[in-house]
């Protein structure tokens, strides 16, 4: 059984359905990508899984436990962390405070907390230098590192990222994606929503293609790379 199992999930805003019976699964040590045009519903999918939106139908199971419809902070406690689109940080607080805040309610000992911080610093050395700057003063790439770092402070079972490449230089995107592959090597499960299709398919093991709220297909990333499916979905039709 996969770590994260999404089955026939439907969701939307008010009565307008945006997701229509979507299914996917993610396993440990796997990067799964979801690609598709703007407005296809990728962000809505992640928001429904992480609890920001209530599902209208369908199931979400994390390590066998049903989390569909649960409160977001409970889902975080279960080990599913969602790094939202646009690097939602607490801009008026410092880098160090942002990382510290991520530990709220985690119930760790002081020693464990320090260990987590050391781990995150090892992955993102830039966060050590800038520790006392307000998060709003960081560059786009640094903010993205901080956002991922926040999630990693919880040592998640599964990490979901919504368009981490947004507005970042290709070199920085390289760095971010390198971190993701490192995490995968350590056994993490990653669900990646991306607009940069080729990039996403480069590092993903498996990929799903979304069009207008539905899954139009999926398969091993390598086989999807030059497929019609992706090209059509991407050019927005």
């Amino acid at each position: 059984m996969a770590l994260l199992e999404v089955t026939n999930l439907s969701a939307g805003y008010g009565r307008i359905p945006v997701l229509d019976r979507v299914s996917l699964s993610v396993d440990r040590g796997q990067i799964v990508a979801v690609v598709g045009a703007n407005g296809a519903g990728k962000s809505t999918l992640l928001k429904t899984i992480s609890g920001l939106l209530c599902p209208l139908n369908g199931e979400v199971n994390l390590a066998g436990k049903s989390i569909g419809g649960a409160q977001p902070h409970h889902i975080v406690a279960e080990g599913l962390l969602h790094v939202a689109e646009g690097r939602r940080l607490f801009r008026s607080q410092t880098v160090a405070e942002n990382l510290d805040l991520a530990l709220i309610g985690a119930g760790l000992t002081r020693a464990d907390e320090r260990r987590r911080l050391v781990d995150v610093h090892a992955l993102f050395p830039v966060l050590v230098e800038k520790a006392h700057l307000p998060a709003g003063a960081l560059s786009g790439g640094q903010q993205q590192m901080l956002a991922i770092g926040q999630a990693l402070m919880r040592a998640p079972k599964i990490l979901m990222l919504d368009e981490p490449s947004l507005g970042l230089a290709p070199i920085i995107v390289d760095e971010v994606f390198d971190v993701l592959t490192t995490l995968r090597a350590r056994g993490a499960a990653i669900l990646l929503v991306e607009q940069l299709v080729e990039r996403a398919l480069d590092i993903a093991d498996h990929a799903y293609v979304m069009v207008s709220g539905r899954m139009s297909g999926d398969g091993p990333a390598a086989s999807l790379r030059d497929s019609d499916l992706v090209r059509r979905a991407y050019s927005g039709g």
Partner: protein
């Protein structure tokens, strides 16, 4: 009978019936006391009507209207009793003084957020209460003002029924004026101010001026209400005007339904009927009202009017008239503007949204702006339409330097835009939203509209026809009367474009118009955009949909992380390796080249 007059017959008949009922009411009622109460109710109605415009429509919560009524009442009392002024002159004074206070209160409303302002009105109420007892050389302090005369008209003293007819008549007239104003661009403006201020500025509304006007109108009505209150009572003392006086008016409009035309009437009727029915619970009156208010706000904020509307919809499924789709009409041509951006930069905190961006768009051209998410495309649009001031660089639309004018001025000069998520006024229909686009070009004055003069009505008809023509142009004619809340995303998009076209813009900025549209809708969008450009308007489109852009635009600018990566015709731009790398990733390109 023509379509137009048959549409008006229903409401006109209703008004005549209402007027006759009001006139007949005191003839039916025997007791003097009940007539007195009815006059009180009419006074309450007058004040509630004004407050509803301010709080219900414009969304500005005022807890100080009781103070304005107090001021009106005392102005009348002091003027007639102490200085022997005739009633009518004194009443005018009430209206003027209260109106001036309204103006004074409007000034903080600009600078402060809604709840700050609500507290200022609360403080104002408290201060007025205190001053009424303090300034006893003026107000007679605790003994109050006694023997306030009744008004007289043509030698007859108006009291009892006569007074009721006067007050009810004034209320009726005020209702008609309010109705005329609400149905016009002012009503739409108020709703826009409450629900979507960006919409208002994008069509050229000077929000400040409208707010001031609304305050003065609302306050003047309260003042007149106060004058009538004083003359109806004959005696006024500070005890009549406690802090909770203002709460009554709020309760009435919430009970009736905030922002509904008939709300004040329903609220006043309910408010007056209830105590009648619960005389034994008189002591608990205020508590019951407060509980009612709380329950309403939580469970049913649309109040009685909302309830009636719900029932009406259930029992009356109107057949929607669907106009058979006419062929796409033409729109009058216009001289397109020339847009020049020179070395424009904009920073938000640590993020460089725009860095040294330069481009030129010739009149009548369609320019596409593309780039990955987060590349600065929308910031570019915002900077050109005046929503953000650039940190450096110049932006010129023809000879106007954008940095030195406000968004509102730009809108009035013919620079219009649409937004990533359509910004429409939720509770109005599509055609009403489109008519709102005419705000800055409408000629009819406030007074002409208020009085329902033929010139104002003519212009309203012309604007409606214009809106209809534009709806036909974008292909939405069949949905003109659909409420925005029920329109699909694609329809809302087209409606927003139609609104932007009112008044013939010289420069039209479209922000991701294709997002969320189906294939057929995309085709429709394409032909609309082409037709707009053909009429002369310069167009700049920010988009993700590369095929659409390639089809529509002669020239495309690619932005990446705030900089212009490439500019040129689609064929050149989309074959450029750097552009491909931005979208696809360098590794993919390397692989392609292997």
């Amino acid at each position: 009978m023509s379509e137009r007059s048959s549409r008006l017959l229903g409401p006109r008949l209703a008004i005549v019936v209402a007027g006759l009922t009001l006139a007949a009411l005191p003839l039916v009622v025997r007791s003097d006391y009940v007539t007195f109460l009815l006059t009180q109710a009419a006074v309450l109605y007058l004040v509630a009507l004004g407050l509803n415009v301010l709080t219900g429509y414009a969304g500005i919560t005022s807890i100080g209207h009781g103070a304005l009524v107090t001021i009106g009442a005392y102005a009348l009392g002091i003027a007639t009793v102490d200085h022997g002024w005739p009633f009518w002159g004194a009443m005018a004074t009430s209206a003027i003084v209260a109106g001036l206070c309204g103006l004074a209160l409007a000034l903080p409303a600009f600078r402060l957020s809604t709840w700050y302002f609500a507290l200022i009105t609360l403080g104002f109420g408290s201060v007025v209460s205190g001053l009424i007892t303090e300034l006893d050389w003026l107000t007679h302090g605790f003994s109050g003002v006694v023997a306030i005369p009744k008004p007289s008209l043509f030698g007859m003293t108006l009291q009892g029924r006569g007074l009721f007819w006067l007050v009810a008549g004034t209320g009726f007239a005020a209702f008609l004026v309010t109705r005329n104003l609400i149905a016009s661009r002012f009503g739409r403006t108020l709703l826009a101010i409450k629900e979507s201020p960006l919409t208002a500025t994008s069509v050229g509304v000077r929000i400040g001026a409208v707010k001031i006007g609304t305050f003065i109108y609302s306050a003047a009505l309260a003042g007149v209400g106060g004058a009538f209150y004083a003359t109806n009572q004959g005696v006024i003392t500070p005890d009549d005007f406690t802090i909770h006086f203002s709460i009554f008016f709020l309760l009435v409009i919430v009970l009736g339904g905030l922002g509904s035309l008939h709300g004040p009437l329903l609220g006043t009727a309910a408010f007056f009927l209830l105590p009648y029915l619960m005389t034994s619970l008189h002591e608990w009156r205020l508590l019951i009202y407060a509980v009612g208010l709380l329950v309403l706000m939580i469970v049913f904020p649309q109040g009685l009017a909302g309830l009636l509307a719900l029932l009406a919809r259930r029992f009356n499924r109107k057949a929607t008239r669907i106009c058979l789709a006419a062929s796409r009409t033409e729109i009058p041509s216009v001289e397109g503007a020339r847009l020049v951006m020179a070395a424009v930069s904009k920073r938000f905190g640590g993020v460089e949204a725009l860095a040294d961006v330069s481009l030129t768009v010739e009149p009548g051209a369609i320019r596409g702006i593309v780039g990955p998410n987060g590349s600065g495309k929308t910031t570019l649009l915002n900077v050109v339409s005046g929503y953000h001031k650039p940190d450096s660089g110049r932006i010129c639309i023809d000879s106007t330097a954008v940095e030195s004018v406000s968004t509102v001025t730009l809108a009035r000069q013919g620079v219009r835009r649409t937004f990533q998520t359509p910004k429409l006024i939720p509770h109005l229909s599509i055609i009403e939203n489109v008519m709102f686009g005419a705000y800055s070009v409408e000629q009819a004055s406030l007074v002409a509209i208020a009085l329902g003069l033929p010139s104002a009505r003519r212009e309203a008809r012309a604007r409606r026809a214009e809106a209809m023509q534009l709806l036909r142009f974008v292909g939405l004619a069949a949905h003109a009367e659909t409420s925005v809340g029920e329109a699909t995303h694609g329809q809302q998009r087209l409606a927003e474009i139609a609104r932007a076209l009112v008044g013939r813009p010289r420069l039209l900025l479209l922000d991701e118009p294709a997002a969320g549209l189906s294939l057929t809708e995309l085709d429709g969008l394409k032909s609309v955009v082409r037709a707009i450009a053909a009429s002369g308007t310069t167009i700049m489109i920010v988009e993700h949909h590369l095929e659409l852009i390639a089809d529509l635009c002669a020239l495309i600018t690619v932005v990446d992380r705030g900089r212009v990566l490439k500019a040129g015709p689609p064929s050149a731009v989309f074959a450029d390796p750097e552009v491909l790398a931005t979208y696809m990733g360098r590794r993919a390109i390397a692989r392609q080249n292997d």
